[in-house]
Symmetry: D2
Subunit: 352 residues, 4 copies
Amino acid sequence: MTTFAPLYVPAPLAEAVSDRAWLAAMLEAERALARATGASVDDEVFRPDAYDIEALCGQGRADASPVVPLARALRDRAPEAHGPATSQDVLDTAAMLVARAARALVAAELDGAAAACAALATAHRSTPMTGRTLLQRAAPTTFGARAAGWLVALVDARRRLAGARLPAQLGGPAGTLDPALAARFAAELGLDEPVVPWHTDRAPVAELAGALGAVAAACAKVGLDVVLLAQNELGEVSEAGGGGSSSMPHKRNPAAAVLARACARLAHANATLLTGGDHELDRAAGAWQAEWPALSAALAYAGGAAAAARRSLEGLEVHADRMAANLGDLGTDVGAAMAIVDRALAHYRGQA
Amino acid sequence: MTTFAPLYVPAPLAEAVSDRAWLAAMLEAERALARATGASVDDEVFRPDAYDIEALCGQGRADASPVVPLARALRDRAPEAHGPATSQDVLDTAAMLVARAARALVAAELDGAAAACAALATAHRSTPMTGRTLLQRAAPTTFGARAAGWLVALVDARRRLAGARLPAQLGGPAGTLDPALAARFAAELGLDEPVVPWHTDRAPVAELAGALGAVAAACAKVGLDVVLLAQNELGEVSEAGGGGSSSMPHKRNPAAAVLARACARLAHANATLLTGGDHELDRAAGAWQAEWPALSAALAYAGGAAAAARRSLEGLEVHADRMAANLGDLGTDVGAAMAIVDRALAHYRGQA
Amino acid sequence: MTTFAPLYVPAPLAEAVSDRAWLAAMLEAERALARATGASVDDEVFRPDAYDIEALCGQGRADASPVVPLARALRDRAPEAHGPATSQDVLDTAAMLVARAARALVAAELDGAAAACAALATAHRSTPMTGRTLLQRAAPTTFGARAAGWLVALVDARRRLAGARLPAQLGGPAGTLDPALAARFAAELGLDEPVVPWHTDRAPVAELAGALGAVAAACAKVGLDVVLLAQNELGEVSEAGGGGSSSMPHKRNPAAAVLARACARLAHANATLLTGGDHELDRAAGAWQAEWPALSAALAYAGGAAAAARRSLEGLEVHADRMAANLGDLGTDVGAAMAIVDRALAHYRGQA
Amino acid sequence: MTTFAPLYVPAPLAEAVSDRAWLAAMLEAERALARATGASVDDEVFRPDAYDIEALCGQGRADASPVVPLARALRDRAPEAHGPATSQDVLDTAAMLVARAARALVAAELDGAAAACAALATAHRSTPMTGRTLLQRAAPTTFGARAAGWLVALVDARRRLAGARLPAQLGGPAGTLDPALAARFAAELGLDEPVVPWHTDRAPVAELAGALGAVAAACAKVGLDVVLLAQNELGEVSEAGGGGSSSMPHKRNPAAAVLARACARLAHANATLLTGGDHELDRAAGAWQAEWPALSAALAYAGGAAAAARRSLEGLEVHADRMAANLGDLGTDVGAAMAIVDRALAHYRGQA
């Protein structure tokens, strides 16, 4: 149902947040639970191929959850297969597994973007250009210093994303299952062990959403500046292979920068949904069920923003001559711009 | 990529906002343009089967638009096929066509929900129950009056949705194409004729988004009240066929009400994105490209909310005995509750 | 508490949404109710000077409403003074009264902005300039056509704002008061008569919020385009008396355009809050109490955006020579730009 | 202009984000800069009493910033007073100073709320009650376990708030001032030293906003559960001194819980604005100027939510008899509820 997904989202990331991936994650959670409880259930039972997620979702409508029919299907095949978990345990844990896989892909795009940024900052450490405030000429800086600003934001967003905890969930319907069992379950999956069940404390989801928002913002900033600097009248950068236009084939558009901004808006909207819900007592009656599509979308579009920012940066052509010409009477005293580049690069290397 | 779509969105509506539907709408726009310009292009050229939207989106990444490769493909088949339109003309017009088709499906769900609501209001016009403010017992009302409140909101949301203008877009890259041509183009498609091109005046999109938000809010209100009244300790309503639970098979959950609330949250988040973008000069560099998935999602989830509210209402079991018992010492002076029901029903019939 | 209000909001508008104004509106509602019920209460009782809104708010904390202590104070002075209304009746009606007064001020700013826009469109009907898509040179248009686009958006937003219904609220705690009384009450105040009490159907608030969002968006668009066209490298417009800078006194900033954009963001955020709350049963336990500051802010900042857009437009200097120079090899075939200007002006006059 | 502020926000916190406080913070930044640059300026020059912030804001409208007229006023009194800083340096640094002072007040309210929560968790470690999913009876838990869940969320939100970095800003118009000077400036103020100027990398603001959102969410959760458990038909908790009603003086409303939810909604809306702006090149033309009121509001309402949650918790009356009665046939096997309480308390103590 997502419109024009391949325009925005790299295929592996789209796959990582697909229904197939969620199904596999739910089954992985169920399998880990069987192991943690010592139930002897054949691994075959947990193979995704045996289940039809679309049908489960259709059936799940009567239960507001795809896990109820999935649990039935599991029990049909092996009575011990579903264990003491409740729907929310399975889905929250699956969400964290999906997030872990998708996060790695997002981080890889960020790494690429940061590397490209670092290369630009290095190459143009002392290339003078106009600093602009309120889009008006203000004072000289260097293109390296501008790239350094992008770089620090990308590095910090990546660190924040990497730092978001991904806890397993295992509490049963009222959050009262044995924490020792939850600990074994988390260990089976390599997820964080929560202090207590977080079934209606959505801080982990909100933290992840906040980190994805930070990723989106860092990429949107690159996109915005590229779009502005690529204006014909400025002409200070252009995207290699910048896109054309259906009615103006000669045009060279900063298409990747534009898509970075578009993806960032979509990521932000979905991340916002994930930070403000009302989660009633021991399971929310609406806010929780809205999280799954929003989480997938936030992951996918944050990654799309990173991938687009990376494409924009990797192919960015810097026109030092135009930068010099645009400086006009501002002079070329770039102050401590080079020192700022060096600090940003050291920050980048320290994190890498 | 949309997670668990069949859980939330009726299949015909999901289809109406699918990539296939957007492709068909883009081709319908192109065909109408050919006709409006008097180009003689074989209708065959505009058949969706001949194009692969997924591939076009992949190619479109270089242009931040699927229309650029689509226009190339059209011209390959018939040089006159793409006409003077620019990407935005095709996509904005396609968006309105998609919206028109999806809106009809959303409205049909709303009609069903309103009819169920009207039946409840009629049947329980004088069934006394507790009015609750801040979730505390306040004063008697009737269940009919409560349903009347839902009904008026549903009716007004439907009217607002039906009233949202759906203008064609035809301005060329700078919005300077002949308005007479745009008028013919709009007439070909049965869309509204805009005063001037609205390529960066997104009021039509925002109005539609606002209306979808109103639909979502009206449905969420039904869902919220049903969830609250269905609490065991109140027991005043229950959903027929209310869903079970993976760990508590005896439970009867107000699953449709829960999904109405979940869908409403998703619709609201996407509608919000559609009301606040920065659209630069003659085509936005990011905010526009973020609209397509958000518009599809807003339509789909608003319709999902309506369908879920309808299911909840159509099967709602009203427990007048529990309502009577919960009144306790509040008495049964329901004031003008019945007159209020009558006003709501007249309003409903006046709109129907 | 609002930071730097005089920077953003015209003083009369700030006053119109102040606590003083809300107090006066609550008392006006109380007085109208006394009249509608035929209670003979001295008008003196309803004079705002006799009450301290700050103290009432402090006392109201225990009740989550300033009306409870206000009603106590009223009854102390005249036992019949508070009538059968509940807190929500008083506050919702007061909100509509505040909105009515503030809306008139917002509309006046919009009128000024539209008039300035119309003058620009007329004066520059055929002044050629570059149309820019994705901020890249695309095709010629005229500055008049650009102003025409702004104008239509301003006119439509004003119409939407004027069209938002402002219903009185009178239902008592459970929404069961006599509709005939509510009708008299509404007539006393010159507010719309609601079909049924809307205490938890917040569509009127959401419609108003949507209209304020439309105002903000139309003004933000002016601001954005002015900011972009005022870039030194384009130099196509500048703001008369454009602001300076603390460190660069020679600079000329498009300050009004910047403030229009800032205000629009603040208006949008507050309007969004007003469209998505959960309103439980007969009075919301949180979402309602969040509306008052958000409504004031949405009104104030929408008006601030309109006032800033007006200032920007009224003093806008159009540099036709720079526009001509920037066209370069695009030529000056502006297509139907002039016809578009004429359509916009006719639309404006038809609405005025 | 903020409507009914004393209803929501503790007076010291309202003062901490007032215009007076911002003025003092701007002057503190200016003074620190004078010291860091070795300018010998009389401390008297930086005394807030000498300036009228309201007038500065009015004058600042022409510059879209109150700092331009403030800098003029400073220079009038002492030519060296304003130093090499630009408006943004002064305002961003002032924002961090305001945030530091307000954060301490928010944290104190959170501490109070957490302490009350810990006391409840301890006292009701083994008080059995119904766990409810989708607001339906699910399985037994204890009230202590519920309070433990609230506690962990409050503790984690407080930690996140305390961890938000508050960097000084000193870059000059193009972000090229000497980092060594910025370091001295930060040290003067006791603020964090930034890696590079963050004038258009708004990650620090977004992180703070995210933390305030987390505070709001944790408090809203308390409010929501209290409101639900305080329903008459459940009667499991009540607020001491719970508020009355203007039309129903006998009622006892969970007023503090309601206000916690209202404040949380307002905090969330303002926090969201702070995470998604477009900040162009070296100073945003709109998104930055929208931050100041939103930051103040996010701080104030997050603190209001914490204060309200604290009031609700500190006076919470727990009705163990009603809890026992409502359990019905669910039994009293509360699983590992007590162990969960112990884990939460240890987590709390570890953080305290």
